[in-house]
Symmetry: D2
């Protein structure tokens, strides 16, 4: 790490600080400035404190480090192989399904239809994080079993959300992709546990979290050894209240520039109203997203959760047709 | 306006209030509730106060009124005829040009090129609202004259930003579309003056303003008699700092549902970095925007303002090619 | 629940929906409106869907329900008894201590000093949720043991943050108050587990969460039977970047009106700079907060985390003197 | 301005750029870095562009310049003398009055009362910037005349909001302080005109504007020669919706550190509900504000604008008593 400092007296305070922590350094100087090369191999330094010393006018920026998510570390786009399907950056991957697993019939009905229409992966929640404790909390383990039956019967890879690390074995046994929800993006104990397995992880951006924080949460997963990480934009909290959250589509080109990880978008949760899902899906693909996650229900108004934002089968069919055209227009394909 | 009130004693307080203001009303009642029909023809009532009375459980929502921007008032999409070009919802309109007019040569160089590449309208600022008083404030009247020369020479309609109503005559004489910038979206004296002319207005959304507030500002223009209003999304202030503002593309389907006015998007100011302009432009068209406003400069790094976010000629050319494909994919055309 | 609907055909669709879910209801009607009394005893309804039906002009608002956090359910301010101290709304409670437990000497040095200066509760983190996986993650169980030694030696109740429910037994055995951090405010599995114990919980508001969402998270705790809940405002994410977060002090009177639970404020994390901690602490007390949580370190710049926002001993002493004056001015006392 | 650049080839590109603009510079170098001293006396450079060149690792920060608002330029707190009263940082100044001037009787009734209770300055709007064009727009010039009569009769300095520079002469003739509203904070033509007069200006922070942007708007006023500038925090737009805006009280210590200008707070507009005005007023004084601006109405529910957020006379009386105690607790006085 390089530090540039003005004035000798400021330099001396920093050297005291470094000596105190036994951190080695070298000093070079020009007429007016001091250059400090610090070797913080044990990661003892708080960079914000260094920056706060008087006279410090420059420090190697944090994001310049060779993080595992960075294109500086690995430039080729990450490819994530699943049973029966592979996620890559040349194809648009469509994940579709109901918000919650309600019962066998509901799940099967939806699974068959989204498969026929062309979805590549089936989504459905068994453990539901709900704002109110009085809302439907999901079928739990029983739900996952129903989901796995669909996977086998329809040869559709499945994704479902984990809400606590006590569920880890269950998820490793049953699902193809484990979803970490927006509310758990900074649940670091969960991330550490998920970093030790190989099951692909779809990591949703927290509604109050920056792109940088999302990348740091991904780093928890990568650092532990799980390289199969998908990032998912799903809206942030802003003052605008005509949509449930504000979908930050600029995150797509920003992330594409910084990281080799696949970028997905969940327009359903972001806008909270099925009428806006189609246009946001098309926009996401046009902006460069690698995949979409869409809520679909055969009878949306009877869904046990998030019915308002679910597309019905017909609208999902129409969405797929349009997505294919946009994908083609940006030189990609939907298998 | 209809009000529903619980309990007689609550009703009586409201009736006192209405009597006090001499506003006529009728009361109907069920077993538990009172229905109050109020005829506030003189617009004397503050609806927020009515809502604040104890026992009021319902009031006709504000946005249900027949505002002039509303599809309830007029469902057909507004068409805006210009010299040499017409803005409508079947074609994607491309506005392009430099942030500021710097001199004749710069303006002409850019105008010729964007015209050749296919832009329909030339943008360039003569009066520049700058955060710092030490930044370049624009060429003023002289700039507008240079801009008008381009208009005549290249048969390109022109748009430029007005920053005070003292400039009104100048703009009416010179430009085809008057831009009201984000910082002036709620400059109501300016809006009132612009409502009295016929020159089309492109009204940018304030960076701290909701979609509802944008529509109310448009209402100032429409109410005075100027029907040629274009709305323009250009990013809102959020906690995310990897882009200059957060481009709110969901505003497009939300506005398209509510209003008959054309919706444009300015990705350049929203993201503040030319590298993200292309993907946000494509996303805007995919989401249903009627037009784009793009900053283009022949030597972006030498621009007197906003050089970082300007596309160079080559990148603008590439953008146009891609925009055409996306337009086609959503069933629209770029003339 | 009461619903008011316009027009017969709209009513019929809703009745179909309710019949479909076998939910009982009664209908009354006036000339223009239909009143529907619905008995959703099994909580089968999604209220957002009901509201989305055409013609629905009113529904009993969600927050009118008798939630356990509500003053409608219990008006008297909640009192939380601890060993050696009681939290109530007549006294200002001061929680102080370092961000992280670093070692025995550091913790003891700070504990003695904050106790002497008048702090009522000692805070210190053993499990640290850090944005980057490369930052100091805390001493874990060993840290809690050191903290408990302080508790015994100095007769100071202690508070520390839990980051996963696997740590639950450890926390129940060791600490007087369990802190749920902002990043875990919506970790519902954790909240459910904490609702089953009696140890008081300090629940921090998520940086992207509304006051309403904070209350719903508190409801998870109260519903399970843990009544000892403290709410803590610690800043929200906004576009302003001169402070780390924006401390939302209006949350204090808003929460005080709605709930009987004690309201604390953590100015240290909110502003992220010790220079602003004092004024925000005084403001919090003036606004009606019941307590403060302040980061204090004997050598802030050598702290292993959050050193920039920690007060040193002298500044903490000065803060306490000023807090006492403000407390007195608003009719409260600091014991 | 100093620039630090890595690698010779990067340096050369910057030198080309500077040569191109004919800007003089000097280069020094160390083993690894190049130091560039640039003399941009004509302010030709766009600093954001310089920063965007590859290899630039440091540039003298913008806020280090000797701006006129800065304590680096002038450390003593600005004192603003008015007829019958002086604004300084040792006393808390209370501005009170109705949102709008409605008629002579209303204004006089309120003026007498707030004067008797101890307000130092009377506020009342004659030109009202309203979100909807159908809302009461104020009495205009006639209102200002009524306000001036109060000023003379009760020897109370008066403040009112200007909404367009065409009103300038009128305001200079009539009022003691001219208010620039939040919606006009970046109306630079208005600021330039106001910079040429001596009447004190109260500049409100825009609801979507940062503290830095507020200071730059103040710089427009100071640069033109008007040194009598008061800054006023009045809430920013955030996702929290239990209050109308989020009052950013951290802005007080941040601004107090940076600038010598007086800092006022308008809690009435920020929270939008009179029930929260008292606690936010006390918090503002505790946080170090120099003054408050409070909406008061003798019959708030009959006010023609913003009645919900206005204190009645009795509540204002109570507020003043409590403000005095808090002022004393922080070592200040209310005359």
């Amino acid at each position: 790490m390089t530090l540039i400092v003005k004035e000798k007296q400021n330099l001396n305070k920093i050297l005291d600080y470094l000596n105190n922590l036994s951190i080695p350094y070298k000093v070079n100087s020009t007429k007016e400035l001091y250059l400090l090369d610090i070797e913080d191999t044990k990661n003892l330094l708080d960079e914000k404190i260094l920056l706060s010393f008087e006279g410090v006018i420059y420090m190697t920026p944090l994001l310049d480090k060779p993080f595992l998510w960075s294109r500086k570390t690995k430039n080729e786009d990450t490819i994530i192989p699943l049973n029966h399907y592979t996620i890559d950056s040349k194809h648009i991957t469509i994940i579709a399904g109901p918000c919650s697993i309600e019962n066998k019939e509901q799940l099967n009905t939806i699974a068959v239809q989204v498969k026929n229409i062309g979805a590549h992966i089936l989504r459905a929640g068994a453990f539901k994080p709900r704002t109110s404790p009085y809302d439907f909390q999901g079928l739990g383990k029983e739900g996952l079993t129903l989901l796995e039956q669909c996977k086998k019967e329809y040869k559709l890879p499945i994704i479902s959300e984990i809400t606590d690390l006590s569920q880890l074995d269950l998820f490793v046994d049953h699902v193809d992709i484990i979803q970490v929800g927006a509310r758990n993006m900074q649940n670091y104990e969960l991330l550490k546990a998920l970093s030790k397995i190989n099951t692909p992880i779809l990591l949703k951006r927290g509604m109050g979290c920056t792109i940088e924080e999302l990348l740091f949460s991904a780093e928890y997963l990568l650092k532990g050894g799980n390289n199969n990480v998908i990032l998912c934009e799903r809206g942030i909290k802003t003052f605008e209240n005509s949509t449930r959250y504000t979908l930050d589509l600029s995150a797509i080109p920003v992330l594409k520039k910084l990281t080799h990880l696949p970028i997905f978008v969940d327009p359903s949760h972001a806008v909270g109203d099925w009428q806006y899902v189609e246009s946001m899906s098309l926009a996401a693909i046009a902006a460069g997203a690698d995949g979409l996650m869409i809520e679909v229900h055969h009878t949306p108004l009877c869904a046990k959760s998030d019915g308002l934002q679910s597309l019905n089968i017909q609208h999902f069919h129409q969405l797929m047709q349009k997505c294919k055209k946009i994908a083609q227009a940006v030189g990609k394909e939907i298998l």
